[in-house]
Subunit: 131 residues, 5 copies
């Protein structure tokens, strides 16, 4: 991939998952390395221990003015809708996830993308990690 | 990112969320800066206070002739379908969201994209905003 | 955007919406301007007046041989599934939408894309249309 | 579009639809023209004549070793889930669709993409087919 | 496709499917050829033999630090939600799928992408495999 100047960013894809419970916030704010970070949220789901009530997940991020805003991400209820596809909802840090309603647990999953310059690729090295 | 002339637009992604209630319109019409704005709608959901009736969200925008048109975006009912993925429905301003049926609240969320010339990037500065 | 020869097509995004009722066809066949037209279907939904029966939407278009074919797009029933994400189903004109089952109304919405050469952009002018 | 050497493939989009019934396979294997063919599956749905039992659609294709494999594409039941978005599931020929459970009919729809070299475009001609 | 140096990777798309049952893990870790592998998960569904209880699928992969993490992918119950679109959830190897709840079977399907250099294309040869 060396010598390729036309593709300035080569995104690396990692697994992301978190569990939300009442009163427990989950922060997405990777430490300041030289890379750009992004979440592509894919799925939200309940588990067998989730109480049968409506759960609503809220995400807190930034609007175009740099102000904090809150948005409702998804509402789930085990007996009605146990899973919802989030369709690649892009979250840029810093962001916070929390349950606005319901006691949980609610699971959120997706991809953690790391955009790096082509010459910073840690691609091959990482793929060698054994299982 | 300077010196890159081949990528004229570098979209910045911000969080977008709004709450719809009967008789309350939400307008998406960012003020006239030099940037192009766009909404990528991701999710619509009810919350625990939403009455168990069918809610229908309408969006008003422009067709190819520049005429105002209205389209039904999504229908939700707490006991049947509390969340729906909107799959990246692209909205270009000016647009208006309102409840055509139901008393709400209904939550809409997604990404607010700002397309700017590469040399207008306010990227690094904004990322430094602390949490 | 002038001087950019490498991007031959700059798609413009407009809102699209239609309402299907028994016995009423909706045709998508924009008049022959010099542009290429396309629909990206995003959502189908019922409304409060839709009878509680299974509705099936059919789309008629062209296959690779230029022959007319019909395909079932989506089935909805108010009490079971009032909204379905169509996920960006691409429709190229000429196309016809109709209810194959049910009396409606069923709402279809999405984006009407107009692909035009870079030097034909009616971008800025259209954005100036006032609300 | 002539004179454009940088875009080697210009995909053309056609409508695809098929109906699955017990004991009836549907093969997707376009004849060997010089083009590359691909299906982007968008929707699966029942119709009013579909019996209220669980239907499971199976697709048979090739894995990375060139061996035939079977995968479950979607499960539908009229009273529970009459439509499912397939989200652009890409199928490369040869492929076979069949009902693994249920008697049908189940409808599958999406886009049939034909990738052709820029100088082989049959674009304008096909668009002239009248309705 | 020869002579094209500007497109370093040409992804080939193959069918992927697996079946999850209690106590049976499915590993996605293609052998070390020179290619990059990736799964784009599209659908999860039950089948007629799946017991009517909540099933939760877990995926184990790597986070940005190279550490193993687990994420809940989807929850399904035959009588509530027999199929869920996974929307192109990207999985990079090594990854493991397992049922965290429920006895199965649960079917997972999608595309297995193989990224190869343009001059390593095994495209035409593979397409000649007869059905």
């Amino acid at each position: 991939m060396n010598g390729l100047d036309e593709e300035p960013m080569a995104p690396q894809t990692f697994l992301y998952g978190c569990v939300l419970e009442a009163g427990k916030e989950v922060v997405f704010n990777p430490e300041d390395d030289e890379f750009e970070h992004q979440l592509d949220l894919r799925m939200a789901c309940v588990d067998p221990s989730t109480k049968d009530e409506l759960h609503m997940v809220e995400v807190e991020g930034q609007d175009t003015e740099g102000q904090k805003i809150k948005a409702a991400l998804v509402s789930l209820k085990p007996s009605t809708l146990p899973s919802v596809c989030l369709g690649g909802f892009t979250i840029t840090p810093p962001a916070v996830f929390r349950l606005k309603a319901g006691s949980g647990p609610i699971h959120i999953s997706g991809q953690h993308l790391v955009m790096m310059e082509a010459d910073q690729s840690f691609d091959e090295d990482d793929d060698d990690d054994d299982e």
